[in-house]
């Protein structure tokens, strides 16, 4: 990977983190209830976007910039796990289990749908 591509991945990665923060905030502000809908919205939309990008004819550095940089940073595994753990700690075991199962199943489906419509 060349230095400009790596810097590009960093810049798009920073942008992806910002968009995640803003969308998560906007969804969480409107969502009543303890289910982490903000993170789910981010992760499913990102999985769909990755499906579109891999289904389209993007290759090499362009694919790396968009898929690894922007979309990879936009979606998050760590917050998904942290929120599930904290829900479990608070005794909301069924919501924690739903969050894990729904994200996983709908996430794979979102990539497949994105790839199909690309």
């Amino acid at each position: 990977m060349t230095a400009p591509v790596l810097i590009g991945i960093g810049l798009l990665g920073g942008a992806g983190a910002l968009v995640r923060f803003l969308l998560d905030g906007a969804v969480s502000e409107r969502w009543r209830g303890s289910f982490p809908a903000g993170t789910l919205a981010v992760n499913l939309s990102g999985a769909f976007a990755l499906g579109i990008v891999t289904g389209a004819t993007l290759h090499g550095d362009a694919l790396r910039l968009v898929a690894t940089g922007l979309i990879g940073s936009y979606t998050t595994f760590s917050t998904w796990m942290l929120e599930s753990h904290r829900l479990g700690e608070d005794g909301a075991l069924s919501i924690a289990a739903l969050n894990i199962a729904l994200s996983l199943v709908a996430g794979v489906a979102a990539v497949a749908i994105g790839r199909a419509v690309a």
Partner: protein, 132 residues
């Protein structure tokens, strides 16, 4: 939603670092085929979950409140170091290749290790004595 420009800068800087680290690890540990275990994604995800569990617990329960540490470390570094979308694409490609067992094993291992990493890091911080 209230937006703080320094908070956004902290998230951007953390996201830059997390994405670059994930990209470098991805190149170093690039899988040879869709049927190979995706070590790069697996490792960044578990490491990022551990770091987030450690960081958030320490910042919330152990250290004085700071406005920019959590956005930098949690939302920025850990959020960008780990990835949900790539993991889901890898699972889909395993299913495409007819490797349903591998797909289920990879998903289960990522969830168990990721959740376990948050649990262990959280409890580790809580058990540790507060050092002045």
């Amino acid at each position: 939603m209230r937006v703080d420009r320094r908070e956004l800068l902290a998230i951007f800087a953390g996201g830059f670092a997390g994405a670059v680290a994930r990209a470098e690890i991805g190149v170093a540990l690039a899988p040879s085929s869709p049927a190979a275990w995706p070590w790069a994604t697996f490792l960044v995800n578990v490491a990022g979950a551990a770091l987030l569990g450690y960081g958030v617990t320490r910042l919330q329960e152990r250290l004085p409140l700071s406005a920019y540490r959590r956005p930098f470390l949690g939302t920025g570094v850990c959020g960008a170091l780990t990835t949900f979308s790539t993991m889901q694409l890898e699972i889909l490609r395993m299913l495409d290749a007819g490797r349903a067992g591998l797909a289920i094993g990879y998903a289960a291992a990522s969830l168990l290790a990721g959740f376990g990493a948050v649990l262990v890091a959280t409890n580790g911080v809580r058990r540790a004595r507060v050092l002045a």
